[in-house]
Amino acid sequence: MFTNEMVLLAHPTFGALAIMAAVWVFVETLNVGPSNISRLRTVCFLGAGLMWLTYVVGGYWYVTQYGVDKAIIKAGPWPFAHSFFMEMKEHVFLMLLLLATFMPIAASADLSKNLGARKLVLWVAAFVVLTGFALEGSGALISMGTKVGLMAKPV
């Protein structure tokens, strides 16, 4: 039980850290030069790695544990927490995983001399941040859906 709770907490934590890494990539790209290009590429790999951890940990929990929460949410007053937010989140996340994986590939170009390469990395990092925040918010709504479902149960 303790392990499952830790897995559930680790999922949004890794996701938030991946978002922070993407913000870091965005800022490093705005100020890119010979002195920070190596750090920028390292943070790109860090962000992608954290997103993969988010995927593996969240995926494990979703496949093995979510069924109970799903039943509670669907029977409760917020069924949309599953029917819209969870369904949307689990599939948009697959796009986000690929986008985060593409981030270090995009940063392999010569960013300090190429404006187009910089714009590409800025767009990718920005979408990782925005999509990541949207999915973190969806996760919060799903948790709330379970909570209101449990509160609505007769004691």
Partner: protein
């Protein structure tokens, strides 16, 4: 043979190339992301609308979402590997890759969110 426009940039201490050709790996995997995202969004609509497709995906790995994720990853790597070696990637510009990434992210997101909202 793309034209490379060189202009001096103040504050960056050197010349910047605008519209320079993308390295083929960046273009290949950028286009691959765009294609895979769209296909993934369409697969959402297909599997949710077709019980046989959903059942088949569930049987392949034990859960439809796991199969969906594995398919996406395989497609992203395979299409990226193929396109990186193609003329499409070697002739691409950064503008076209950026447009593909933005367009695919927005359209795929709208397809998925729109499908579950309706």
């Amino acid at each position: 043979m793309t034209t490379s426009i060189k202009k001096q940039s103040e504050g960056l201490g050197g010349s910047i190339s605008v519209g320079e050709r993308v390295n083929s790996q960046v273009a290949g995997y950028g286009y691959s992301y765009a294609i895979t995202s769209l296909l993934s969004a369409l697969l959402v609509v297909l599997k949710e609308s077709s019980a046989p497709v959903m059942d088949m995906m569930a049987r392949l790995s034990g859960h439809h979402w796991v199969t969906h994720g594995i398919l996406d990853i395989i497609l992203f790597v395979a299409i990226g590997w193929l396109l990186s070696r193609s003329a499409l990637a070697s002739d691409a510009s950064y503008g076209s890759v950026i447009s593909a990434v933005i367009g695919s992210t927005v359209i795929s997101g709208l397809i998925i969110a729109g499908f579950y909202a309706i």
